[in-house]
Each structure stands twice: as structure tokens, then as C-alpha cells.
């Protein structure tokens, strides 16, 4: 336990020293300010206006949080490997599982703090323009962003373990981000429909991407309009109902946070140094 905590503290320290978290919080706060100002100028100072601003923030989150999680996760083990410190660490009386878990937990805490800071500063800036009226939705978005970060970090760790260097890990992380965030919507739906037009393949297409799961959960909570939910979200809500959809999507997020990490641990344990 003491060893895992030591690794976790070191990872937390490294994460705060890296520029990624600061850049994330700063970008988030600035975009939030810009969104609020645009909303304010449009004269929409109602609760609906606040919701639109937060919806804009969610879109920003769906772009930035996966990138942050994947890049930070991918640089952990591969970075230690590049620096030669992985051998020093694993020659201590700790298991590869402890090392992986300590690093993962450290990153999760760091990214959660960065998200809280980013959303916190953004929320504060937004209240100067539009009075904060819907804290519930805002809090839910923070939770969803944190869940997305947790699953992306897990995937990032898997990428890190299978990469023999930091450069390769970064390239794979950015490729994964490109596929999950930018390509997936069109690609997966197209593929699902071409393989089978059944509801099962569409459902699998949603659950196969945590970014999509978070997007649908966020929109569902904010504005359960079938047009805004998109084809996958609309299908889920219509076929399974809102409650079942929420449970299914949340379970998918949990699985995405756990399964890549378990796979990373299995592979890491079998690797030679």
C-alpha cells in the first residue's frame, strides 16, 4: 500500500509539473468565457441560455478530455521505459500491478482536479455574464467529463504498455483520439448499418465508444430532444427507454474504465525488461 501510494504521489506531482493540465484548465476557462460573452451579446440571459453555454462546454469537453486522458495515460509507462527508470522501479519490491495501479490512480486524481479547476473557473466566469441557475446540470457535466477522462486514461495506459517508446505511444494516442472523437460517429454508424441494420449493431456502436456514450448521456440530461440526440441516441431512447439507456451507457463507461486497464496489467505483467 505504501509503495502504491508513493507511486501515486509521484505521478500526481509529474502530472502537475507537465503543461498538459495547465493548458487544459486554461483553454477550458477561456473558451467558457468566450461562449458566455457570445451568449450574453446574443441577449439570451435566460436559464436556457446558460444551458446552451454549458452544452457548448460539453462539446469542448468531448474534444479535449479524451485528448488529455489518452496523452497523459500513454506517456506514463512508455516515458519511464524511455528514461530507463522503469527498470529501476520494477527492481524494487513492488509488483507490476502496483506500479500500474499507482500510476493510474495518480493520473485519475490529477485529471479530475484539472477538470474540477477547468469547470470551476469556467463556471465562475460564466456567472459574471449569466447568473448561474442550473447547478445540477453543470455538476452532472463535471461528473461525465471525469468519467470520460477515467476511461480515456485507462485506454491511454494500455497504449503506453504496448508501446516500446514515448514517441510511438503518443502517435498511437493521437490516432486513437482521432478515431474515437472525429471519425467514429460516421465510421461506426456506417459500419454498423452496412454489417447489419439491426438495433443490436447500433447499440454496440454506441457502447463501443465512451465519447459517444458521454455525449448521449450529456445531451439526454440537458435536452432530451430526439433530433439533438442524433441517430444513435435517438435509437437508444426510443427502443430502450431513457432509464435503461442511462444504465447501459453508464455501465459501458465503467467497463471502458476497467477493461483496458485490466488488459494493460495482463500484458505488462508478461513483458520482459
Amino acid at each position: 500500500m505504501r509503495a502504491t501510494m508513493a507511486i501515486m504521489r509521484k505521478e500526481l506531482r509529474d502530472a502537475f509539473q507537465s503543461r498538459w493540465l495547465l493548458a487544459f484548465s486554461l483553454t477550458f476557462a477561456l473558451v467558457a468565457l468566450a461562449l458566455s460573452l457570445v451568449q450574453g451579446r446574443a441577449g439570451d440571459l435566460s436559464e436556457q441560455g446558460f444551458n446552451r453555454t454549458t452544452a457548448g462546454l460539453i462539446n469542448l469537453c468531448l474534444l479535449l478530455v479524451p485528448l488529455l486522458g489518452l496523452v497523459l495515460g500513454a506517456s506514463t509507462i512508455a516515458g519511464e521505459r524511455d528514461r530507463g527508470t522503469l527498470l529501476t522501479l520494477l527492481s524494487q519490491p513492488i509488483s507490476s500491478t502496483q506500479l500500474l495501479l499507482g500510476k493510474y490512480l495518480g493520473l485519475v486524481v490529477a485529471v479530475w482536479m484539472a477538470i474540477a479547476l477547468g469547470f470551476g473557473v469556467a463556471g465562475l466566469l460564466m456567472t459574471f455574464v449569466n447568473p448561474l441557475t442550473d447547478i445540477g446540470h453543470y455538476a452532472l457535466f463535471i461528473v461525465l467529463s471525469a468519467a470520460l477522462a477515467t476511461s480515456m486514461l485507462s485506454l491511454g495506459m494500455l497504449i503506453s504498455v504496448i508501446s516500446d517508446g514515448r514517441l510511438k505511444a503518443m502517435a498511437l494516442a493521437i490516432l486513437a483520439w482521432f478515431v474515437l472523437v472525429l471519425l467514429y460517429d460516421l465510421g461506426a454508424i456506417g459500419l454498423a448499418l452496412s454489417v447489419s441494420s439491426s438495433g443490436r449493431s447500433l447499440t454496440l456502436a454506441v457502447l463501443g465508444n465512451p465519447v459517444e456514450s458521454v455525449r448521449i448521456l450529456a445531451v439526454m440530461s440537458l435536452e432530451p430532444d430526439l433530433r439533438i440526440l442524433g441517430p444513435l441516441g435517438a435509437y437508444l431512447t426510443e427502443e430502450l427507454g431513457k432509464a435503461t439507456s442511462v444504465v447501459l451507457l453508464s455501465s459501458a463507461l465503467v467497463a471502458w474504465a476497467a477493461l483496458p486497464l485490466v488488459a494493460a496489467e495482463r500484458i505488462f505483467r508478461r513483458q520482459d525488461l
Binding site: 509521484k10 528514461r83 527492481s91 519490491p93 509488483s95 520482459d272
Partner: protein
């Protein structure tokens, strides 16, 4: 303390880094693992520490490396060939971090940083340390949990003669404390002074396993001694020939003596004893590979 039985390590289907290596190391004893680059020394050490998977069996203090790697590493202080630490941590933070990983008290970390002479540099970042200082820090980290088995991979590489002597003293001190030590080295001539036993590897195979004193005779590493004398070459040459069977060549400026590495000091001592003035001298050591090839020829593939 350490038992290695039939350890084989293959990388893919073509590369066999270790081929059926066996040895035992008792408590309070020192074994030197000798071999040229690529002989399998580091691979053997990585097997012992549980950093690579292997065929065969290794136990440390009765614990099986393959089954309880973490438990085994509690008993081992391992110093890698090129110790790498996080360059952003200070010396003090590094020692404290590894004390946490080894469940060692923080006060022990402070004591060791002091004892390896880094107290004045404890706030320096590891990235700012010289190679020698980093080696000292690695030594402090190795000793943190007061392990009964020390595994030192090429600890003398990159060290100057003073540091090598300090290292030799450290090995002797640790042995006196009852620790078992396994060290890999290129320095064949050091072996009889620091080790009880020697294991010589070539291409992953054992070519010699036995008392270190026997190795000196068996391997007979050679040296070339260059002597600039105070004009008494005619007297010196027969004296040297009487001490060694090697060749003595007079090049005019230098008297070049080819001799077993273990005899070179005796030659200098004899010349001084005979009142022959030595104005200057230098030594060229034959590479360890040559001595190992000799051993392999002597073994004739029987080992």
C-alpha cells in the same frame, strides 16, 4: 542464499541469451559473474531480480523468483549497470521515494545519503549530478532496506581507480556484515581480491564455475607492461625473464614486458628491490574476451 538451477532465457526462437546456467551463492559469500559484452551477465541478473521470464528455477532465501518476485526483491539490493532515476527529483526526494517503495524508514534514507557522501548535495536535482554521484546515489538506494543479497551489475564500469578501490572496500565491508554479493564485472584481475567464487559466461553458457583463486590461473589474463628504466636494461631483462615466461622486448625508449596480469606488480617490486630505477611505466590490459576465449579452449566444450 541464492540458488540458480538450469536457467535458460530465450528471446524469440533464435536468440538464447542464457543456456542452462546453474550456480549457488551461500550467505556471506561473494560470486563474480564475468563475461564479455553480450555474454549473458545482465540477463542472468535480470532473471534473479525477476525482471524477465525464464526457464529453470531461481530461489532467493528459499523464495521462488517466478512465483514471488515481489517477495524476492525484498531480499535483494539491485544496482543496475546504468542506474536511472527521475531527474526532476532531488537526492533527498529520490532516497525518500525509494525508501517508501522498499518500506524502509526515512531516517535510514538520510543516513545512507550521508554515508555515500551526498549530504552536501541532497537538495540537488538528480539531473544535475555527475555520473559518479549518481552511482553513489544508486548505492544508497541499493542498501536502503538492508537486504541480505546484493546484486551489482558492472558496478565498476565508468569508475576511476579511487572509486573502484572504494567499491572494493564496500564489497568487503558488506561481506563482513554477512551479506551475500553477486557482482558482474569486466575486471578479471579484480576478481581474486573481491570474490570467493567466479562464474564465467560466454554466449550464455558457463565456461568456468569455481573458486576465484583458480580462475586467475585458469584464465591467465595477460598484461603488457611498458617500463622506462634508468639505463639498467641489461640487468633488468634477465631479472624479469626469471619472474615470468613472457616476452621482454627492448624498443630503445621502453622495455615492453608481456606477462600474466597477476605478475605485473611482482615485476615492478623486483626491479625496485634490485635497485633498478623506474622512470616511468604504463600498463595495457588484454581485453576480458581474450581470457575467456582461453578458458573456453581449455574447457574444450566439456563444461
Amino acid at each position: 542464499m541464492l540458488s540458480i538451477r538450469g536457467v535458460t532465457k530465450r528471446y524469440g526462437s533464435r536468440v538464447t541469451a542464457l543456456d542452462g546456467v546453474s550456480m549457488a551463492l551461500d550467505a556471506g559469500k561473494v560470486t563474480a559473474v564475468i563475461g564479455a559484452n553480450g555474454a549473458g551477465k545482465t540477463t542472468l541478473i535480470k532473471c534473479i531480480v525477476g525482471l524477465v521470464r525464464f526457464e529453470g528455477e531461481i530461489t532467493v532465501g528459499g523464495k521462488n523468483v517466478a512465483k514471488d518476485g515481489r517477495g524476492v526483491r525484498r531480499l535483494i539490493g539491485y544496482m543496475p549497470q546504468d542506474p536511472a532515476f527521475h531527474s526532476d527529483l532531488s537526492v533527498r526526494e529520490t532516497a525518500a521515494f525509494y525508501a517508501d517503495l522498499k518500506s524502509a524508514p526515512l531516517v535510514r534514507a538520510r543516513e545512507l545519503v550521508e554515508s555515500v557522501g551526498l549530504a552536501a548535495h541532497e537538495e540537488k536535482k538528480v539531473g544535475e549530478l555527475s555520473g559518479g554521484m549518481r552511482q553513489r546515489l544508486a548505492l544508497a538506494v541499493t542498501l536502503l532496506a538492508d537486504p541480505p543479497l546484493l546484486v551489482l551489475d558492472e558496478p565498476a564500469s565508468g569508475l576511476d581507480i579511487t572509486a573502484r578501490l572504494e567499491l572494493r572496500k564496500l564489497v568487503q565491508d558488506q561481506r563482513k556484515e554477512g551479506k551475500s554479493i553477486l557482482l558482474s564485472t569486466h575486471w578479471l584481475e579484480d576478481v581474486p581480491y573481491v570474490a570467493d567464487d567466479a562464474l564465467v559466461l560466454n554466449e550464455g553458457k558457463t565456461v568456468f564455475l569455481g573458486p576465484a583463486t583458480e580462475l586467475a590461473g585458469a584464465a591467465a589474463p595477460s598484461s603488457r607492461l611498458f617500463l622506462r628504466l634508468n639505463g639498467q636494461v641489461a640487468e633488468a631483462a634477465p631479472l624479469i625473464k626469471g619472474l615470468t615466461n613472457g616476452a621482454v622486448e627492448d624498443t630503445g625508449d621502453w622495455l615492453v614486458v608481456s606477462c600474466p596480469a597477476t605478475r605485473k606488480a611482482r615485476i615492478v617490486e623486483a626491479l625496485v628491490g634490485a635497485g633498478i630505477g623506474i622512470l616511468d611505466f604504463r600498463v595495457e590490459e588484454a581485453p576480458v574476451d581474450a581470457a575467456i576465449l582461453d578458458l573456453q579452449k581449455q574447457a574444450g566444450g566439456k563444461r
